[in-house]
Structures are given as C-alpha cells and as structure tokens.
C-alpha cells in the first residue's frame, strides 16, 4: 500500500458503517449509524469529507438517486465499498489485531 493510502480511524469507522448499511448507505444514515454504534455525534460535513477522500482513494463508489420531497426536492448520494476498500479495511484491521496480539487485558486499565 502506497504512503498516504493507510486508513485512519475515522475512515475505518465510515467504511464499516457503509458495510453495515449496505444499499441504504447515504450521508445521513452513515452519520446516524456512527452515532448509534459509537456514541459519537459527528458532523455531516466530516462524514462527507471522509467519504470524498475514500472515493478519491478508490475505496468507495457513489451513485445519485432521484430527488425526494422530504429532502426539499434534493437527491441522495449512495455509497458502496468496492473490493479495494474491503481489502484496505481488512489490512488495517489485521494490523491492529497484530499489534494487540499477546497483550493481556490489563493494557486497558494502565
């Protein structure tokens, strides 16, 4: 993996949210999923900034829906994790697991 393509913590959280939401993954739902699971009430701007970055890195794709009235006549942008994104996420998670390996549970307390 080239330098600059490593996944930050929030990027991993956003990718995991996309995977959990599947076909329903658009900005608002991603924000709500993160809030529900992590307790972090993130700003929608931070979610979109991260999604844009992940799309530029080639880890996610997006498509635009039809406009709907409950959104003031605006469309939704749905996101999907592609194979490269899944691979990068798996590597990042593996690295973390490797670093944790062998540590006793006491590291959480100290």
């Amino acid at each position: 993996m080239a330098k600059g393509e490593y996944l930050g913590e929030f990027e991993q959280i956003v990718l995991l949210a996309l995977l959990r939401l599947g076909a329903e993954a658009y900005g608002l739902r991603v924000r709500q999923e993160i809030a529900e699971r992590t307790g972090r009430d993130v700003a929608i701007g931070a979610v979109y900034a991260t999604l844009d970055r992940l799309e530029n890195k080639g880890y996610v794709t997006s498509r635009v829906s039809e406009p709907t009235p409950e959104r003031g006549g605006r469309a939704k942008r749905y996101f999907e994790v592609i194979a490269e994104g899944r691979r990068a996420l798996a590597e990042a998670q593996h690295s973390l697991a490797q670093m944790r390996e062998g540590l006793t549970e006491s590291w959480r307390m100290s």
Binding site: A43, G45, A49, E70
Partner: protein
C-alpha cells in the same frame, strides 16, 4: 418546518459544488425527523464548516486554490477602493460641505460596494464561498485598521470602526448572496 436560513447559508458557502445539495438534503431530512430542532441544525452547520472548507481547498489543489482566491481578493479589494473613490468624488459634487453628511455617506455606500466585491470575489474563483469571503473580510479589515491608524486626528474612531464593520459585513453578505443563488 424550515431549517434556520442563516445556518443553511453557512453550509451553502462552506460546501463544494459536488457535495452541497446532498449535504443540505441529508440535513433537511434529519431536521424533519427531529421535528425541527433548530439548535441541532445550527450545531451541524457550524461543526461541518472546517471539514468542508478543507475538502474545497483540497479539491482545488491547495496552493492553486489560495493563489486564485488571493488574486480574486486583490481584484475585489481594488474594486472596493475604486468605487469608494468614485463615491467620494460624487459626494464632493453633490453634497454640501458638511462633515456629518460626508461621514454618513461613506458609511452608507461602503456596505453595498463591499457586498458587490464579496459577490464578485466568490464568483471569480470561489469553490468555497465562505473561505473566499473570510479571506477578503480579513484583508479589508486589516487595511481598514491600517488606514484608521494613519487617518487624520479629526476623524472619530467610531467612524473608522463603522467603516470596517460595514465593509467586512458587506463582503460576507455579498458572498452569502452568491452562495444562495448558486444553490437555487
């Protein structure tokens, strides 16, 4: 129920063309789900500003974005100065030689001229209208402070402060107007 207009304008100014409509739509949808929580909308708008400006700068190529923004700020500032000089010349012709009238004229004309400059500034090169307007407002404010320090003693401090406030406020209002028009 409608989201707070000023908070929406802030978002319109901060977001890039690519994300603007989706972000506004997402927030509008959650705003309705929350039965119109204005404080929540404001919190989202304010906290989204920095990450969205960073995206706009990154998409515009960092250095190139600031270079283009700086040029448009200089052009706009040149426009303000030219208009203020023209207004001053007009005042010499039309107004009686009254110190009070002259001060009122300066303060009243500064706002629309600055608003025009703000509008043009973001139109020339702006990806993030907010960043562009803030750059111009800071520039105008600094030069206003400089001229305040160098101005003749008979000019009251409140006049210079009022002029700076009118010009920076005008710049931001002009940029906000452009952002609203772009989103319509």
């Amino acid at each position: 129920m409608k989201p707070p207009a000023a908070a929406r304008t802030l978002l319109m100014m901060a977001a890039s063309d690519r994300d603007r409509d989706f972000i506004l739509g997402d927030l509008e949808e959650e705003f309705q789900e929350r039965s119109g929580a204005g404080w929540w909308y404001w919190s989202q708008a304010v906290r989204s500003t920095v990450p969205l400006i960073r995206v706009a700068v990154r998409d515009g190529g960092g250095g190139r974005f600031f270079a283009a923004a700086f040029v448009s700020v200089l052009l706009s500032y040149g426009l303000i100065v030219a208009l203020v000089i023209a207004a001053s010349a007009l005042a010499d012709l039309l107004l009686p030689r009254s110190f009070g009238l002259r001060i009122a004229w300066d303060l009243i004309t500064a706002f629309p001229f600055a608003a025009l400059a703000g509008y043009l500034s973001v139109r020339i090169s702006g990806r993030s209208a907010l960043l562009q307007a803030l750059m111009l407002a800071v520039f105008v404010g600094l030069l206003g402070l400089l001229s305040m320090a160098m101005s003749p003693a008979e000019l009251p401090a409140w006049y210079s402060a009022g002029l700076i406030a009118a010009m920076t406020g005008g710049v931001l209002a002009g940029a906000a107007h452009f952002a609203r028009r772009r989103t319509r």
